[in-house]
């Protein structure tokens, strides 16, 4: 073996143990889930003892109206919360990106909700939405407006509000960090060219923040697809199946129905959905970067 070959392979040899450990740690549970999804697997059995079921679990779910309903609820919930949280979080970041007295205290206060355990958040909101002793209905009634059936007819909206309350600060922090790391020269140039505050936001700040916002949006989307505790505590998925998101259905299928194989298949459907979303968003991000790079080359070319 030549010296150059050895030289080329050396880093890989040193990296190999870490890569193997990481691969096992990362892939083993995934493989376990995929393996389990092809079996008629009951919690009382070891996975190897469970009967092979082929694609039965996947096909069963494909024809299961309750699974379809849960999927639709999940999509509605995830896209609603992420869209609204992005809007409010980025808006707040743009509003508070300035040096005012007490701003650091205000920023700290904003991030408090995301530090609270989800079960506690669920309980707090459940009691705030309580039809008779809840603060919302008491306030509405005290000003002469009728009470609202928060966790009944408007259950999905109510859990969306609770999630927005808890997770908007996450967007806010990342958006604020992105804003504060923007090149001051670009903003200065825009100001000198007479760009209004609004124009600065639309044409300078948001485009420059976009890579961070896309990753933030992706992280929240992945998380929103997997929300469990808040909804479990607030509505237990009801009324009917109106707030039964997939994570809750997966949990029920595994523990109440004792169908681990079906639960694993459901998790794999969710995983595939998230993979498609992730690839689409990362691809979009890449395209934007390539577009920017091409514009930069063109500008640099003109200038040279």
């Amino acid at each position: 073996m030549s010296y150059s070959t050895i030289n080329r392979l050396t880093p890989y040899v040193f990296l190999a143990p870490a890569v193997v450990v990481m691969a096992i740690a990362l892939l083993y549970p995934l493989m376990y889930m995929v393996f389990g999804s092809f079996r008629a697997w009951d919690p009382s059995q070891a996975i190897g003892e469970a009967e092979f079921a082929g694609f039965t679990n996947y096909i069963t779910l494909w024809h299961d109206p309750n699974f379809h309903e849960s999927l639709i609820v999940t999509l509605k919930f995830a896209f609603s919360v992420v869209a609204l949280e992005m809007l409010i979080g980025v808006g707040l970041a743009l509003l508070l990106d300035r040096s005012l007295r007490g701003m650091s205290v205000l920023r700290t206060l904003f991030i408090l909700p995301m530090m609270i355990a989800p079960v506690v958040v669920g309980l707090i909101w459940r009691y705030m939405y309580h039809p008779s002793i809840g603060i919302f209905n008491q306030t509405l009634e005290s000003i002469g407006l009728g009470s609202v059936d928060w966790l009944g007819k408007h259950a999905l909206m109510s859990v969306i509000i609770a999630d927005i309350w808890q997770w908007t600060p996450f967007i806010f922090i990342l958006a604020l960090a992105a804003l504060q790391s923007l090149p001051r020269s670009a903003l200065e140039a825009a100001r000198i060219d007479g760009a209004s505050g609004w124009q600065q936001i639309i044409y300078i700040k948001l485009p420059l923040m976009m890579p961070v916002l896309i990753v933030t949006c992706l992280l929240r989307l992945i998380d929103a697809f997997k929300v469990l505790e808040v909804i479990l505590v607030m509505t237990e998925g009801g009324p009917g199946l109106s707030t039964e998101i997939l994570a809750l259905r997966i949990s029920r299928t595994a523990t109440e129905f004792r169908e681990l194989g079906v639960a694993a298949a459901m998790s794999n459907y969710l995983l595939m959905l998230l993979l498609i979303l992730t690839i689409a968003m990362l691809a979009y991000n890449k395209i934007q970067e390539l577009k920017k790079a091409r514009v930069k080359v063109l500008i640099d070319g003109d200038g040279s």
């Binding site: 919690p43 009382s44 008779s132 059936d149 509505t235 237990e236 998925g237 039964e244 109440e256 004792r258």
Partner: protein
């Protein structure tokens, strides 16, 4: 002279040692053992925590308790009982877990413990245990597979079991000259009169939230109104006339109930009654302690108790918890001793006095218990009609229960037609039962 004396002395010591061994208490071999038990966070088991030190004092056996919210407890047990060597020596299981655990061969058959003279206390008096509870929670392998019968065996003992009774506001009933309902027609009539007589007050607190709560509330009415989920051939009959009547009774109760009643879980339903927002509460006996606790209740001293109203028959619920020994437990014999002590006459009275639910007829009639908890007498009467078959306890029940509960929630909140909804449940239930092999012999 010296040798015979020495021999006599040795013989005397040996005899004393033998006699000492023969007279050793049943707990002595296990003194110093630490049992790990898994109990739910539940009023009964909170009372159990108060009496466990007495067990340790009497037996020398230490008890370490892993107390969890009961759904969490079930999740933990699902994982724990599947291991080769388990962490738990004794588990409390919610009644519908019985089918899952027994079917998966995860609970010890208790016969070999009750047959062991070194372990079984002759004064245990198993006939004093409440029949409905034992058959509902402890037995498996008999009639229908989950009840008592000639082929059945005992896998657990009821502990923290409950039946249903009607709690009513004595002051409100007296104020308006209302008769305490003894049948379903009267119950529904009074429930819907209350909101008119007492503006802002609901008739009856019921759980109705999607899933288990709605299903539970429906089944509570189904048995007395003459219905069952299955006939004797496992055909779903939940959609027959009795089923529709039970679902409509639940709808009437919710419609005449407090604000937001359609989304009430057990906690909200009870909270509403404790807060004075409803005039009646028809559910488990476990609530009595909280109703009489001035820290939690605004209706202390205002609540009377009556039997679960009659439909075409009497049939109050049986539910709650039992205790069993996992197949993979490390200290099975000591665990049996704890189980036996807790459910003995002495243990049952102790836990009742500490605010728990007794599992014995004699405890319900005990003078001390009745002096401290006067409602116990009515509860004892109700137990005579406790129906162990008010809810099927089969391995696929979790799935059927969830479907029944979510569908009924749609009836209550989205105005789905009752008959059509129950027809759908019956159809889907048939498919679940077919897949599980219940029609193999048809």
């Amino acid at each position: 002279m010296y040798k015979p004396l020495k021999l006599i002395g040795m013989a005397a010591v040996a005899s004393l040692m033998y006699a000492g061994q023969a007279l050793a208490g049943p707990y002595d071999p296990y003194a110093g053992t630490t049992l790990v038990v898994n109990f739910p966070a539940h009023p009964h088991y909170n009372a159990v925590m108060k009496i466990l030190p007495e067990f340790t004092k009497e037996t020398g056996i230490e008890v370490e308790v892993d107390q969890l919210p009961y759904m969490k407890m079930r999740e933990r047990q699902t994982l724990e009982l599947g291991q080769d060597e388990g962490d738990y020596d004794l588990v409390a299981y919610v009644v519908f877990s019985k089918a899952d655990y027994v079917y998966a061969d995860q609970l010890e058959n208790l016969a070999r413990y009750f047959m062991n003279p070194k372990l079984a206390d002759p004064s245990y008096d198993s006939d004093d245990l409440i029949d409905g509870y034992v058959y509902n929670i402890g037995f498996a392998g008999g009639n229908k597979g989950y009840l008592q019968g000639k082929t059945g065996s005992l896998f657990g003992i009821p502990y923290g079991s409950e039946t249903s009774v009607l709690g009513y506001r004595k002051d409100i009933f007296a104020k308006h000259g209302l008769k305490v309902p003894s049948n379903y027609d009267e119950l529904l009539d009074v429930a819907c009169q209350i909101p008119n007589l007492e503006p802002g007050m609901g008739g009856l607190s019921s759980r109705a939230a999607s899933g288990h709560h709605a299903s539970h509330a429906f089944l509570l009415h189904l048995a007395p109104l003459g219905g069952r989920v299955f006939d004797d051939q496992w055909n779903p009959i939940v959609n027959n006339a009795a089923g529709v009547k039970a679902a409509n009774a639940l709808k009437t109760i919710v419609d005449c109930g407090p604000k937001g009643a359609a989304t009430f879980g057990f906690g909200e339903a009870l909270g509403s009654f404790l807060n004075g927002d409803t005039a009646m509460f028809l559910d488990t006996t476990v609530v009595a302690g909280q109703i009489n606790d001035p820290k939690k209740s605004k209706v202390v001293g205002k609540v009377g108790w009556a039997m679960h109203p009659m439909g075409v028959r009497r049939g109050s619920q049986t539910g709650g918890f039992g205790i069993g020994i996992p197949k993979n437990a490390q200290n099975k014999e000591a665990a049996f001793l704890l189980m036996q002590w807790l459910t003995s006459k002495k243990g049952d009275k102790l836990v009742a006095m500490a605010g728990g639910n007794p599992s014995r007829f004699s405890t319900h009639q005990d003078a001390d218990v009745n002096a401290k908890f006067p409602h116990m007498k009515t509860f004892g009467e109700a137990l005579k009609h406790a129906d162990p078959d008010w809810r099927p306890i089969i391995p696929v029940w979790g799935k059927i229960n969830a479907d029944l509960g979510t569908t009924l929630s749609k009836v209550l909140t989205e105005g789905l037609d009752t008959k059509q909804a129950l027809d759908g449940v019956a159809e889907r239930t048939r498919k679940v039962m077919e897949d599980a092999g219940y029609y193999t012999w048809q």
